[in-house]
């Protein structure tokens, strides 16, 4: 099977790659979004903790 044949998927290229592509895209984006969510939460809490520490001094 040649590379071109493989990507052609017996004429079903749009449907097969449209399905696998959308699935791969979302399953890559979700962990990236989770990473930035955690980053934002940590930044906010760290600031909160710093302000509290300064108040105590």
């Amino acid at each position: 099977m040649s590379v071109a044949e493989f990507f052609n998927m017996g004429g079903y290229a749009l449907y097969v790659w449209g399905s696998f592509g959308a699935t791969a895209l979302l399953m890559v984006i979700e962990p990236i979004m989770l990473r930035s969510y955690r980053h934002n939460v940590l930044r906010r809490i760290s600031r909160l903790a710093r302000i509290k520490a300064e108040e105590r001094v």
């Binding site: 998927m9 017996g10 004429g11 449907y15 097969v16 449209g18 940590l42």
Partner: protein, 249 residues
């Protein structure tokens, strides 16, 4: 034997669960990556061409696992929702909330890959068929839960309202499952069933199961990772959060 004496309520404390989840995330991420890599290889290079649908049938290897996960995640959410209502544990609501976006993604993917499979095989992207419509309602239940949860400022009240919505919506899960039996649908019946085994070839079935297990491990990894951030957000004022190494730095 000693498992009977484990104090499960100990793990319902966010302070105990946060580091535990942190250790589990990389383990399940690795399992997911390995299973999905093997599953993808088998999907394209091991599983044979279908005699009727040619290469087009390979969509099954993402479509069925995504559809299974969309229903399974909803049941797990319902479990946590019920637990939260009965025992009033804080972590339950956070787990329900952490699973919802992933469930919504899989419900969307089940519909999307279904449309991309329906077009070449049935000649249409969409029909108002019982299976398709009930799966669409599942997607709306996930989105409705997220909207309701987001609309209430008080976390505990948001959790309770969300839990009720999730539990009422459980009625939709058997409807999705039996829709292909109860109604005359364009969607085919189940190829794999608990009672009568599988009507697929062994290699296709194994490929599908490996992909499904990979999606399952992926779901655990992302849900635990999300619940960690939710815990931090909600427990921000507590001493244990402010003393965490990642917060102090």
């Amino acid at each position: 034997m000693s498992s009977r004496f484990i104090n499960w309520f100990k793990f319902s404390s966010p302070a105990t669960f946060y580091p535990l989840a942190g250790r589990m995330v990389p383990v399940f991420s690795l399992i997911a990556a390995a299973l999905i890599a093997v599953g993808l290889y088998m999907s394209f290079f091991v599983a044979p061409t279908d005699y009727k649908q040619g290469e087009g049938y390979r969509i099954i290897f993402v479509h069925v696992p995504a559809a299974w996960m969309s229903m399974f995640i909803y049941l797990v959410m319902a479990f946590w929702a019920a637990l939260g209502l009965v025992f009033n544990t804080r972590l339950s609501g956070m787990m329900t909330r952490a699973l919802a976006p992933t469930g919504a993604i899989f419900a969307f993917l089940a519909l999307w890959t279904g449309a991309f499979w329906g077009k070449p095989m049935w000649g249409t992207w969409w029909v108002w068929d019982a299976r398709l419509t009930s799966e669409l309602i599942l997607l709306f239940l996930y989105l409705g839960y997220l909207a309701l949860q987001g609309a209430i400022d008080d976390n505990r009240r948001a959790d309770r309202a969300g839990a009720l919505l999730v539990l009422v919506g459980v009625v939709n899960i058997p409807i999705i499952h039996y829709s292909v039996k109860w109604w005359n649908t364009l969607h085919q019946g189940a190829s794999v069933s608990i009672s009568s085994g599988s009507s697929m070839s062994a290699i296709m079935l194994w490929t599908m199961l490996i992909m499904a297990l990979g999606f399952w491990a992926y779901t655990i990894a992302v849900a635990l990772s999300r619940v960690r951030s939710i815990i931090l957000e909600r427990e921000a004022d507590t001493t244990w959060v402010q003393e965490l190494a990642e917060v102090r730095s």
